[in-house]
């Protein structure tokens, strides 16, 4: 009797910058794609973000970072997820992140996917849907 399972995504703004245009556009696009989007608001610490992801039982955690602190914030969030036995939550992100940093973050497993400015929101929706499909089929 299981109904169609809703994908839950946490859109988080860790760090101190207040540039939330991208985060909000993405949140709206995910909503319009039928997902449930929990938005944390601005100026979150990694601890706050991870706690929210756990309490909200999200499938995906998206970080929007434009302040340049990505090399600190992604590893920290990933570490906290693991510590809280929540390493299965997909960690993705976007913002102003130079390509070599992106490569490094992905290589080291600190982020499953990263999206540069200008990317169509459809691509993010698609990525999440595909990732969820392969997650549930492998589970």
């Amino acid at each position: 009797m299981s109904k169609e399972r809703k994908i839950r995504v946490l859109v988080a703004k860790p760090g101190l910058d207040g540039h939330d245009r991208g985060a909000k556009v993405v949140a709206r696009a995910l909503r319009d794609a039928g997902m449930e989007v929990v938005y944390t608001g601005l100026h979150q610490t990694p601890e706050q973000v991870v706690e929210a992801a756990i309490q909200e039982d999200v499938d995906v955690l998206g970080l929007s970072i434009l302040s340049g602190a990505h090399m600190t914030l992604f590893p920290r969030v990933k570490e906290l997820l693991e510590e809280n036995n929540a390493g299965d939550i997909l960690l993705i992100g976007g913002g102003i992140i130079p390509e070599e940093d992106m490569e490094e973050l992905k290589e080291k497993g600190y982020a499953q996917a990263l999206f540069t400015p200008g990317i169509p929101t459809d691509e993010i929706v698609e990525w999440i849907r595909n990732a969820m499909e392969s997650k549930t089929s492998s589970a």
């Binding site: 602190a69 102003i96 540069t116």
Partner: protein, 555 residues
């Protein structure tokens, strides 16, 4: 502007042309709208400006309503100030960049602070981790400010500081630094952004709730009147409103609405409008839609002059004329094919010049990717120098005046702004509209619509959704050494060990007491700053009295 019989004739001819000639030409498949989604007609004629009154609506440069510009001879007298926003890492590194820029012909300084400084945290605060010196320079105390301007004569340069919630503190640090150089506060000049309203609306770097924030701003107005008369006490900013995704009309309307809110706050604080209004300046975005932008600047000057005179009763001409700084649109730049950004920036800069800006920052092509490299910054500055010295554009004043299209657009933007003013009034004013999320919702909506237009290919962004190439990224990027954070933390530790801590505590306590009452807080902040209290300590003391602001959940 035209005789009635002539106009009737034009009207008839235009109709004929639309029926007979125009249909012979097929339109290509495109939407003819501005970047703000404003529909544009195929042709503008005298009909579109039939109500324009030259004297009343345009007049002459440096004369009411200042539509054509605020200086009598505009760029024939002095070119706009080429003011490149810069700051990164430690005060020492930024100091070197400033000296480099001054050597290359820049005429004013512009300080970018890092996020911890903007949000009122010291570099060693847990919330600052990973952010120290990244988006700007890290300033924790007067000691850093002294290093930042070391060897730069503060009586000669003017300095613009992009700082808002903690503006009073950084301003006091600057005043104290000048004093140490032997320059009295009456001789220094510059600008603090100090525009908290647009923080609640768009940029979201707030600390305190609106009421105490507005009080700090009016305290600055009062203090500047007496002690720092050459200082621009607030730079009312549309830039960030636009970057957050607003339309041109929204940028214009919301910025001016904020401006009027400051005027009302100053008057309510007991100041005469002509005492502080001459020191209000503006800061606009130069987006990519060329004519819409030019019309926006012209409309802005006209609305400001009219409202200041008619509604607020300002008499000093300096209260009526709107001076503004412009920055090209960061949000128009693309991560794809970043060299294209040089071209975008050039067009945007040209619109600002044609719109009569007083100073200009041109973005570097790699800003969308990371902090700009030295070469990218130089090209950006060269773009302005090219406009100034090669294009011939500065030779005459407001060269697009009288264009049927530009004048019609100017009128239309003024009307749209008036409509927004009416709605804000209905909601009970700017603060109430912020509380109800009015601006935030309008902007979020426009931003989303724009994004959808791109994704549905209704709007072409070169290199993003058309003319795409696969290319490796070959831009030289500036990286911030993580050592910056440790170095700042070390400096802070030393500072706290070496200063008179008892005195700092006493001054902070006095300042807190004053915050509970109605005294002007600037002298208290200045004393604390001079005793080397850190920014974080001062903000922390105020938070205990004022509380902190929480955002509105608007999507």
């Amino acid at each position: 502007m035209f005789k009635e019989d002539k106009l009737n004739e034009i009207k008839k001819e235009r109709q004929r042309w639309e029926e007979e000639t125009l249909p012979k030409f097929k339109n290509r498949d495109a939407k003819f709208v501005t970047v703000s989604s404003k529909p544009i007609k195929p042709l503008y004629t005298p009909e579109d400006i039939e109500n324009l009154d030259y004297q009343e609506d345009l007049s002459f440069p440096a004369e009411y309503p200042y539509t054509r510009g605020v200086q009598g001879n505009m760029y024939r007298g002095r070119l706009w100030t080429m003011r490149q926003f810069a700051g990164f890492g430690t005060a020492k590194q930024t100091n070197e960049r400033y000296k480099y820029l001054l050597k290359h012909g820049q005429t004013g300084l512009s300080v970018a602070f890092d996020m911890p400084t903007i949000m009122g945290y010291d570099s060693d605060h847990p919330r600052s981790v990973g952010e120290v010196g990244r988006c700007g320079v890290a300033i924790d105390s007067l000691a850093d400010m002294e290093v930042l301007f070391d060897g730069i004569p503060l009586e000669k340069v003017t300095t613009s500081m992009t700082i808002n919630a903690p503006a009073a503190i950084l301003w006091c640090m600057y005043i104290a630094t000048a004093e140490k150089q032997g320059v009295p506060s009456t001789q220094i000049g510059g600008t603090i952004q100090n525009d908290i309203l647009k923080e609640y609306i768009a940029q979201k770097s707030w600390i305190f709730p609106p009421k105490p924030s507005m009080r700090l701003i009016t305290d600055i107005f009062k203090y500047a009147c007496e002690h720092v008369p050459r200082w621009n006490t607030v730079s009312i900013s549309g830039y960030h409103i636009r970057e957050a995704g607003s339309t041109a009309a929204q940028e214009l309307a919301f910025t001016l609405a904020d401006g009027f809110a400051y005027v009302e706050a100053g008057m309510n604080a007991g100041l005469d409008v002509d005492q502080f209004a001459p020191r209000l300046s503006f800061f606009f975005n130069a987006h990519i839609d060329f004519f819409e932008e030019i019309a926006k600047y012209r409309a802005a000057r006209r609305i400001w002059a009219r409202k200041m005179k008619e509604k607020y009763g300002a008499k000093d001409p300096r209260s009526l004329l709107m001076r503004f700084h412009t920055q090209t649109a960061g949000c128009s730049l693309t991560a794809q094919q970043p060299e294209n950004n040089i071209v975008r920036t050039a067009f945007e800069a040209l619109s600002a010049v044609l719109g009569g800006t007083q100073s200009l920052h041109t973005n570097s092509m790699d800003e969308v990717l990371a902090l700009p490299s030295e070469k990218a910054v130089r090209i950006a500055l060269r773009t302005q120098q090219l406009i100034a010295h090669e294009t011939g554009v500065p030779n005459t004043i407001d060269p697009l005046a009288g264009s049927y299209f530009v004048e019609a657009l100017t009128d239309e933007l003024e009307r749209e702004a008036e409509e927004y003013f009416r709605r804000v009034d209905e909601l009970g004013g700017v603060l109430e509209a912020i509380d109800q999320g009015f601006f935030q919702y309008e902007i979020a909506d426009a931003a989303y619509r724009y994004q959808k237009e791109i994704e549905e290919n209704e709007r072409i962004i070169v290199g993003v959704n058309d003319f795409v190439i696969e290319e490796p990224l070959e831009v030289e990027l500036l990286k911030i050494d993580p050592e910056t954070e440790r170095e700042q933390a070390r400096h802070l530790k030393e500072l706290r060990e070496n200063r008179d801590n008892e005195k700092v505590q006493k001054l902070l306590a006095e300042m807190q007491e004053a915050a509970k009452g109605e005294d002007n807080l600037i002298p208290y902040i200045l004393e604390a700053v001079k005793a080397y209290a850190t920014e974080g300590e001062i903000i922390g003391a105020f938070k205990e009295v004022f509380g902190e602001y929480k955002e509105q959940p608007i999507f």
